[in-house]
């Protein structure tokens, strides 16, 4: 059977081939389709009731970085992504910065959009399972994302405001092998989204001001992605949920899900 054989289209948004399924077997590396598949599962199943959470397809991220050269392109993309309705955005980072350059590493950039109006701000948090290897790619992506975000929101509100600092999460769980970064990206996305939904509580709090620059200096490694005074999102439990063993288990669960979906759809 060919690796290119299409097993199914998940929600008409994510194509899975037999080859992609095999990538969920360690020690294979995950590709952008694997990432996109699980992101769509998070969107449509795990966080179905929360359309304010945006899980960006890696291909859309690279499109934003490389293909969107002028403001018109960025505005169109922002509109298509309905960025104005989102409160948190999960952005997969890959170190393939140019068309033909090799890519080796995935990490997670989280953007909290903050509230509307005057108190408007935004915050970036970078979760890297390999001691900050993707730092420059994350900063570059954050800058372009911020450009897109400010274009959409209207320059009068945040005119001239510089791209917020990208806060590296110091105690981000570290992978113990040379193949799991894609899984860490998936595991951390799920866990941070879960924290945001549970700890972020009501819409009113989440719409409040988000951690301002320097606010999370004390207690380094703690990321306050939920908004509002006194409402902090504590990521210290991340290590316990995203570990080598947990990621091995998540690999098995995702592969099993793909096999189930394939069985249901194919003749």
């Amino acid at each position: 059977m060919s690796a290119e054989e299409v097993l199914f289209y998940y929600q008409d948004e994510a194509q899975m081939t037999r080859g992609d399924l095999h990538l969920f077997k360690a020690p294979a590396w995950l590709n952008d389709r694997c990432i996109n598949f699980y992101f769509r599962v998070l969107e449509h199943e795990e966080f179905a009731g929360r359309p304010d959470l945006l899980f960006l397809d890696p291909v859309v991220v690279s499109c934003m970085l490389i293909q969107c050269t002028d403001e018109e392109d960025l505005k169109e993309l922002a509109g298509g992504l309905r960025l104005d309705t989102r409160s948190i955005v999960f952005i997969p980072i890959n170190d393939a910065e140019e068309f033909f350059s090799g890519c080796t590493h995935w990490s997670l950039l989280v953007f909290c959009t903050g509230g509307k109006g005057e108190g408007k701000s935004g915050s970036f948090f970078h979760f890297d399972s390999s001691c900050g290897r993707n730092e420059s790619a994350a900063m570059k992506t954050a800058a372009q994302f911020w450009r897109m975000f400010t274009i959409l929101e209207g320059r009068d509100v945040i005119a001239g405001r510089q791209c917020p600092r990208v806060d590296a999460i110091n105690d981000c769980p570290q992978q113990e092998n040379g193949y799991d970064c894609g899984m860490y990206l998936l595991g951390m996305t799920k866990y941070v989204a879960h924290l945001f939904v549970t700890q972020g509580s009501g819409v009113a709090t989440r719409r409040g001001s988000v951690a301002k620059e320097g606010e999370n200096d004390e207690g380094s490694g703690t990321c306050s992605v939920a908004g509002g005074k006194g409402s902090r999102l504590d990521t210290t439990g991340l290590g316990a949920h995203v570990s080598s063993d947990a990621m091995g288990e998540l690999r098995r669960r995702i592969a099993q899900k793909i096999e189930q979906l394939a069985g249901r759809v194919s003749p």
Binding site: E4, Q15, A28, N31, V59, T69, L77, C103, T104, Y179
Partner: protein, 115 residues
């Protein structure tokens, strides 16, 4: 004040009439033979290079993808095609995607990561 040039005036209205005629003819053709309608698509890669494809609206995108990959000498499975920031899949047609003449499709390479 400058006088209106009668010659210029008449010629311009003739042109306007011609344009209208052409537009009508075009509409008629579309109405009678919708199946044969073809459009030109621009496939743009990450280096900004564009490749043009003339396709029928009923043709599956699979043909465009395979032809593009063949021209570039790469495996079609390692390419990702996007329309306005959304992935497009090989079973879709130009008509289903509501593609119009001169529309642009972006193409990107597969991304991988592990270590």
């Amino acid at each position: 004040m400058k006088k209106t040039n009668p010659l210029y005036h008449s010629s311009s209205s003739t042109l306007a009439n011609q344009a209208r005629t052409m537009a009508t003819v075009k509409t008629d053709t579309t109405a009678t033979e919708p199946k044969s309608e073809s459009i030109t698509l621009r496939v743009k890669d990450q280096t900004g290079e564009e490749t043009m494809f003339k396709v029928k609206k009923t043709t599956k995108m699979e043909k465009v993808f395979a032809s593009y990959a063949g021209r570039k000498g790469v495996n079609v499975d390692s390419l990702r095609f996007l329309l306005d920031g959304q992935r497009i899949e090989k079973h879709q047609t130009s008509a289903e995607l509501e593609l119009e003449d001169e529309d642009q499709i972006d193409v990107m390479l597969e991304q991988l990561g592990g270590c």
